[in-house]
């Protein structure tokens, strides 16, 4: 609420940044996901997406965020190009990749990003990226 007001008035000290960073870092700490596990998840995510579009492996960001009572994993995967090797129409449902250990990890944000990525793909190429909807 306070944060919202602060943002509304366009003024926030570095303590707001500190608070936000603290919140994120503690959330990841409490998740007790090892860095290796997060790396492995990242790798798998990229592998799946790379089947359909070319992504920038070095610039992938994976974060965790509290959304209401659930925890969300947010993956930011920059797409370099949408040219795919011999277009395979059977897209793997991406949802299967995004389940970290905890049961309370919510998927919506990931799905959102994915869909945006898919849309982008659909927009720029004639390839049937919409197959993702199936």
């Amino acid at each position: 609420m306070m944060d919202f007001l602060k943002r509304l008035f366009g003024q926030s000290g570095s303590s707001t940044t500190a608070k936000e960073r603290l919140r994120l870092v503690l959330m990841t700490d409490h998740l007790e996901l090892s860095p290796e596990l997060i790396e492995a998840m990242k790798r798998d995510l990229v592998d799946v997406i790379s089947r359909h579009v070319e992504v920038d492996r070095d610039k992938i960001e994976v974060n965790f965020e509290r959304q209401d009572s659930a925890l969300a994993m947010l993956a930011n995967i920059p797409i370099l190009s949408v040219s795919r090797p011999n277009g395979n129409p059977t897209l793997v449902p991406v949802e299967t990749v995004q389940s970290p250990t905890a049961a309370n990890v919510a998927q919506p944000p990931v799905r959102k990003r994915r869909r945006r990525a898919a849309k982008k793909a659909a927009a720029t190429s004639a390839a049937p990226a919409s197959a993702a909807a199936q």
């Binding site: 306070m2 007001l5 602060k6 008035f9 366009g10 003024q11 926030s12 000290g13 570095s14 303590s15 707001t16 500190a18 608070k19 960073r21 603290l22 919140r23 870092v25 503690l26 700490d29």
Partner: protein
């Protein structure tokens, strides 16, 4: 049937039937947040109240507490000497400069942390509890063996945190490691009310919204603390200073007195400021 009040009054001393003293470990995870300074000042303030206090420097290999107390030239034997039975407890206990109730058990300077036997450390702390009202254990930074040894004999914990992301994170971790047994209480150290006011520093509320610990008190980041440490005279000796008084208030709270946790005063206006802070503290 007005028993409720008296029950509450009795809870404060915390000394059970055999009159064992309380062993309190002061810890933080992160280094440099003021564990040693807090230990020295809290010990000084508790001794001022007439309690028998021993300060145990558990930071083996990096002896500091003697310096802060100005006792460095009087240390003849140290913790490891006692644990390894090269010196008796009486030989190793250094009497404080300013109080007949305060004693120091110094750390070894030229030894390694992992030379301490956890079981022996535990036994030593219990024997100290028989002789003193308070055994304050100054824990080394980190969460390895040195930490575990320092914590081993304690039954309560005071965690020291500064309003910084890294310090809060480490305290969160340490509190997780301590578990419920130690009923950790919080001292926030090095707060700069001016910076908090400007939105440039985490506030007490920010820190404790995350840690959610009983707050013993808040100590301001005062140049005086550096000066008194230079001289080897804890600021708690000067009760007339705001920070000295704050340590005494913390000591009173530790002793179970119902005084409010000390808060460093922000320069003038309080209520207006709080409203103002709702709308962001001016420039970032």
């Amino acid at each position: 049937m007005h028993q409720t009040e008296t029950v509450q009054d009795e809870v404060q001393s915390g000394a059970p039937a055999p009159r064992l003293g309380r062993a309190i470990v002061l810890t933080s995870g992160k280094g440099g947040v003021g564990k040693t300074t807090t230990t020295a000042n809290l010990g000084t303030a508790l001794a001022y109240r007439g309690a028998r206090v021993v300060l145990v420097d558990a930071d083996i290999g990096l002896r500091n507490l003697d310096i802060v107390l100005g006792l460095e030239s009087r240390v003849k034997h140290h913790l490891l000497d006692v644990l390894e039975e090269r010196a008796s407890l009486d030989e190793a206990l250094v009497p404080g400069k300013h109080s007949e109730f305060l004693f120091l058990l110094a750390a070894a300077q030229s030894r390694e942390k992992d030379e301490v036997d956890t079981a022996k450390m535990k036994a030593l702390i219990s024997s100290l509890r028989e002789r003193f009202d308070y055994v304050l254990i100054d824990c080394p930074a980190g969460i390895e063996l040195g930490f575990r040894n320092a914590v081993a004999g304690a039954d309560e914990a005071i965690v020291i945190c500064t309003p910084e992301v890294a310090a809060v994170r480490d305290v969160d971790r340490v509190v997780g490691l301590l578990g419920n047994r130690f009923r950790p209480q919080l001292v926030i150290n090095r707060l700069r009310p001016n910076l908090v006011k400007k939105g440039k520093m985490l506030s007490v509320e920010d820190v404790n919204a995350i840690l959610r610990l009983p707050l013993l008190g808040v100590i301001a980041d005062e140049p005086e603390i550096i000066v008194t440490t230079n001289r080897g005279e804890p600021l708690a000796l000067r009760r007339e200073t705001p920070t000295g008084a704050a340590y005494h208030a913390i000591a009173a709270r530790v002793a179970g007195e119902d005084v409010p946790p000390p808060m460093p005063a922000a320069p003038k206006v309080t209520i207006l400021e709080r409203v103002g802070s709702l709308f962001g503290g001016r420039r970032a």
